[in-house]
């Protein structure tokens, strides 16, 4: 059974695209449609003694945006899970916000499938 990756994005199309890419690479994907939903999933996983190996999160989302979500994760027992931001935003100020919140990396959309797989492999395998 492949390691679990939590994908947080308000776009169903983006989630479907990332899910296909990662499941093809042997991962299991758990989907959340915003930060609040993702926190709920992390809580449920914790109750079942589970934890995703990595979190991929968008920034611009309704209900709870990605920066707030990352900050919240860093206040929980899941704080060591690497979080890669997947976003259309490429401004340095935005990246600085992500870094300050506790993100492990920042990948600007659109990216190639293989690029995403390589990055996830690196974070999950190298224990970043």
């Amino acid at each position: 059974m492949g390691k679990k990756i939590l994908v947080v994005d308000d776009s169903a199309v983006l989630r479907a695209s990332v899910k296909f890419t990662l499941t093809s690479a042997g991962y299991q994907v758990v989907e959340a449609h915003d930060g609040k939903h993702a926190l709920q999933i992390l809580k449920e996983m914790s109750l079942a003694s589970e934890r995703p190996a990595m979190i991929l999160s968008d920034i611009n989302m309704p209900v709870m945006d990605g920066i707030t979500f990352i900050k919240q994760v860093k206040q929980t027992s899941c704080k060591f899970i690497p979080i890669l931001v997947l976003t259309t935003e490429s401004q340095e100020t935005k990246k600085a916000e992500g870094k300050a919140a506790g993100a492990s990396g920042w990948l600007v959309k659109p990216f190639r499938e293989q690029q995403l797989v390589d990055v996830v492999h690196k974070f999950v395998r190298d224990g970043h």
Binding site: A12, S17, G105, F111
Partner: protein, 205 residues
């Protein structure tokens, strides 16, 4: 992208080309010319926010590969990017509605191409909108002639004009040369240095 005043409409007009988009809270008209490309007009009338993109897939795709093939990523980006712009301007995702235009069979004239790209572009836009639960209020797609589109961002009204052969030929040449290129920093990866080295509680699946 070009901004000018349109005296006929009495409004400012923003003209976008392939690979571009524009969103606004202002009373502007967003215009473009389409061959096989597709323009998606999105609006939240309650918030007074609207925008339009103009995109083409990198290659014709079968619908089952829309969200999984590399050729679809520019389309996904174009749609997400427009939605994000509208949300930043105050739109609600739940109130968004759409109008879709373009996708004519114009590149079918080329040696290497088939007419499938126009159809692919339209189906892609419709599939995206359905997956995102954004209702399509109107569409004017397909056929064999290009279109001129004027989208009134304040009222949501769209004027569609079929292009005559002269302008149409130039459009086909432009589309043949067009290669989707969203922005120079696409795919840029930044790894931040302040990473925890390891989880002291150990790895769990």
């Amino acid at each position: 992208m070009l901004r000018m005043h349109c005296s006929r409409l009495g409004l400012d007009m923003v003209v976008i080309g392939a690979g571009e988009q524009w969103s606004s809270r202002e009373a502007v008209v967003i215009g473009t010319c389409l061959g096989s490309c597709v323009a998606t007009c999105l609006m939240d009338r309650d918030a007074g926010v609207a925008g339009m993109n103009h995109f083409m897939l990198a290659a014709p795709l079968r619908p089952e590969h829309f969200f999984t093939a590399d050729a679809g990523r520019f389309g996904i980006w174009a749609m997400e990017s427009l939605v994000n712009d509208l949300l930043r301007l105050g739109a609600s995702r739940k109130r968004l509605c759409a109008k879709v235009f373009g996708g004519a069979n114009v590149l079918g004239w080329s040696k290497e191409g088939s007419g499938a790209i126009g159809q692919s572009n339209v189906l892609f836009a419709l599939e995206c909108l359905e997956a995102e639960h954004i209702p399509v209020l109107a569409r004017e797609t397909g056929g064999s002639r290009g279109r001129g589109i004027l989208f009134n961002a304040r009222t949501g009204e769209v004027q569609v004009r079929k292009l005559t052969f002269g302008g149409f030929e130039n459009l086909v040449q432009r589309e043949r040369r067009f290669r989707p290129a969203p922005h120079p920093r696409a795919g840029e990866l930044t790894v931040f240095s302040s990473l925890p080295i390891a989880d002291p509680e150990g790895d769990q699946e």
